[in-house]
Subunit: 103 residues, 4 copies
């Protein structure tokens, strides 16, 4: 069940600036070996259900060591047999439009 | 790690009306034994990470038997030690406002 | 362009408990006259684009009077010619399943 | 009220592959002049409420010319006085971690 999953996790009750806690999540993500892309509003992972969900869970476990409330949005797109979509979806849109877009 | 998790899952490529597939998910949810509330845009579950994520996974497995592409949004709110929030959060807002709201 | 729009808005930097600010939003929503339903993870509005977006904007304006950072998730479902979906979507799922669900 | 807003819009009832319709949205976005970044799961805009919401609305108007049902997820992050966050948020996480991340 390979999928793209975007998620964004942040603590409530740790002030207005949460960059330190977000950096902790990116450390987990980057070390996980699961392919990903970071954007200004979240991180997109590509992998099997267990792979991507374990990354989200580890991020929660790490953040919950220092925070008493954590919120997270997730969105996944599963498509049978599809892989390499971390780059293919954007490429496909650019091809359909016939021009480069800002990434 | 008890949390509230709202999710909404639907197939792409099965036409404009997806009620039959949504009903399949609600069948999974309702039989799971995990406390939930259905609203017009999603279902809110309350439970431990494994409990709520297993429900989402089972919904995906069921939907993927008939559909080749499935998208899903999820949002969770974890708070240390908090339980009974399926009803407590709305009650608390009504108390703060001092009037009943439409549910 | 009548739609269902669910949204959930909260401040960052105002501590772990944000009920007071959420109550302020519900006050805006409840007084707006736009049909809505509150659930434990958000509020679902039904109306034209301008109607529902003006409610969200007023909630942001109110919250930003006391908060320096505000995050919000929104999800809309627009369907040509469809109305009354605040109740019809749940009814339809119950009919398809042939049993009552927890709301 | 300058904000980052990520959104992802797609039609229901137009089959499993919706790239053509997504390309139409990116055409609207790219021509709008509003700063943006495209990622595999959505597009992040930066601008005032009216600027970013008008882009989303134009995408809906365009998509609704060919589609009878459209769903959309949005998430915004407003922070008083903050600008340039389309690049600054990722830069800040990289600085905190002390290493480059995949974008």
């Amino acid at each position: 069940m390979a999928m793209l999953l975007e998620f964004s996790m942040s603590p409530l009750g740790k002030g207005e600036s949460v960059g330190e806690h977000v950096a902790g999540s990116l450390d987990v993500i980057d070390r996980s070996g699961v392919p990903y892309r970071l954007n200004p509003m979240g991180t997109v992972l590509e992998g099997e259900w267990d792979e991507v969900m374990n990354v989200v869970r580890e991020c929660l476990e790490r953040m919950s060591q220092q925070c008493d409330r954590v919120t997270c949005t997730m969105k996944f797109d599963w498509r049978r047999g599809a892989t390499g979509r971390l780059t293919a979806k954007v490429d496909s849109v650019e091809q359909l439009l016939g021009r480069k877009l800002k990434q």
